[in-house]
Subunit: 348 residues, 2 copies
Amino acid sequence: MHRTKVVKIAHKKIGGANPVLVQSMCNTDTRDVKATVRQIKQLEKMGCEIIRVAVLDMKAARAIKKIKKQISIPLVADIHFDYNLAIESVNQGADKIRINPGNIGSSDKLKKVVEACQKKKIPIRVGVNSGSLEQSILKKYKMKVTPKGLVKSALKNIRLLENMNFKNIVVSLKSTNVVHTIEAYQMIANKINYPLHLGVTEAGPPSVGIIKSSVGMGTLLYQGIGDTIRVSLTGDPIEEVRVGWGILKSLKLRKRGVEIISCPTCGRTQIDLPKLVEQVEKALKNIDKNITVAVMGCAVNGPGEAREADIGVAGGKGLGIIFKKGKVVKTVKEKEILKELLKEIKKL
Amino acid sequence: MHRTKVVKIAHKKIGGANPVLVQSMCNTDTRDVKATVRQIKQLEKMGCEIIRVAVLDMKAARAIKKIKKQISIPLVADIHFDYNLAIESVNQGADKIRINPGNIGSSDKLKKVVEACQKKKIPIRVGVNSGSLEQSILKKYKMKVTPKGLVKSALKNIRLLENMNFKNIVVSLKSTNVVHTIEAYQMIANKINYPLHLGVTEAGPPSVGIIKSSVGMGTLLYQGIGDTIRVSLTGDPIEEVRVGWGILKSLKLRKRGVEIISCPTCGRTQIDLPKLVEQVEKALKNIDKNITVAVMGCAVNGPGEAREADIGVAGGKGLGIIFKKGKVVKTVKEKEILKELLKEIKKL
């Protein structure tokens, strides 16, 4: 267990014994306030707890105040290179900024950013990425990105802030390489107690990005490392939030909505299980109950799993046996399973 | 690192220093030889290295010989309750059987199954599942499935075989609960050196099953636990094999095909990246080259990731810069990125 200090991002807290929060990043043009707010509201609904936006220019920085007025989750401004954008974002009400202190220009410029954050009492995330590691560090490792290099870069950037007496810090060291990501976070967890923002960066399209993110962040979270997570997928950020929750739920770190357990079907299955599971999943998508529903194909593991779940159905030859809290409720015809199952779930 | 003994399944070896193998299970009716063979051939093509079929009756057992003649990967017969089906499967040429020795009937019946396996020199997988834990063990834990209960059941079943001087064993202890799965395998890895077959059972529809399987098996594999894996999803087993490989590739345990790295896009992206990534993914799906391709939206992490990859493209305003082994190859218009990228990949 990596015990971290608590950092506040507006009304949300990360670190310490606080729950691991799910975050995402808008892929809209931040200057387009309407589109950005619309996306953030969709993400909030899916369970996004902190949102980040890219700040490319002054117009984007100035949009922050307008966006903030219309959303209810904390907003993080993502800035590269330009300290003026960082300061403007802070003044516009960003709840946290993400910068790499080393690429913000001179020490004087960084000092001004730090002062702005101190004044508003907002944290800075030091965000190290495999794709933007400093040349000076790359050179030490034969121009290769290594976990040690990621850690060295993070520590160097953290020190720049600490030297200005700034300790309201969150840290991330993301690599596209899952093994590097795991190793880098493990190493830094032994060295610092700032909250860690986990992520496998540029994880790719959902088909592979979900796997890479789940393996990388799951492995770390199981070890007690990580205070907030962001899944990076090429595509709709809605999916990032869904997957983030999926990872936390799978490790029982958070609860949210219905969990469906269903078997892979085999030669034993005598009902159309994939179709039934799809229907059940769809029907329960927006049900806000923390329950487990088992949808099982046959009598081998079916009754057992159905017994463990809050409610479940085990298929037989053209029929389904509905279980509730370990007891058989009724036996129904195959075509009535969905209706009857949903009826029983509503009663829970 | 969990050092296991080596077990042979026909021409494949698992355990010891052998690579972690990917397996799946047919969801066809095993008695339908044509459909089963067709599915196995599709799975083989996707990288399935061991295939399992459910044996429900004598007709299914007798189909094994016919199926085996037409496929080239080892075949495992999955049997519950009936020792006659196990013996017939072995005689028909199954390369391994999966049973729960405790539910095969009397000791005499088990003895006959063991003798059949000894004669043919084929291994038995002791397959414990959360859904089918023995009543006697459930009773010890207030009728709840626990990691300790899973381990106790596995050890009890293993002992039944060992007492008959049978040690050609593979073990699995799958739970639908990811945390239980991780804990159970960790516990048993400290007690036995038989190869472990990993799986999160009844992981559900792909939407959540991929996450649960990646988190559970990824965490174990990272710890050096696991000799073969099977992802259980409700749906097409093709997806199980793809996800299995994805997990192993993400941890650099195996190599297979192209790896695509792509950024999640943000307000900085100036090209239609999701579309480009989708096109690249589709075009490279069947390319049998162990290369990494980076498809990046902007100049922040783009060139860095593109430099680390074998080949990559970083988007700019209506254009793309193609990198190859760290060097800029050419700058092309946005609409020519795909064509030019594929052209360069072909040259690799």
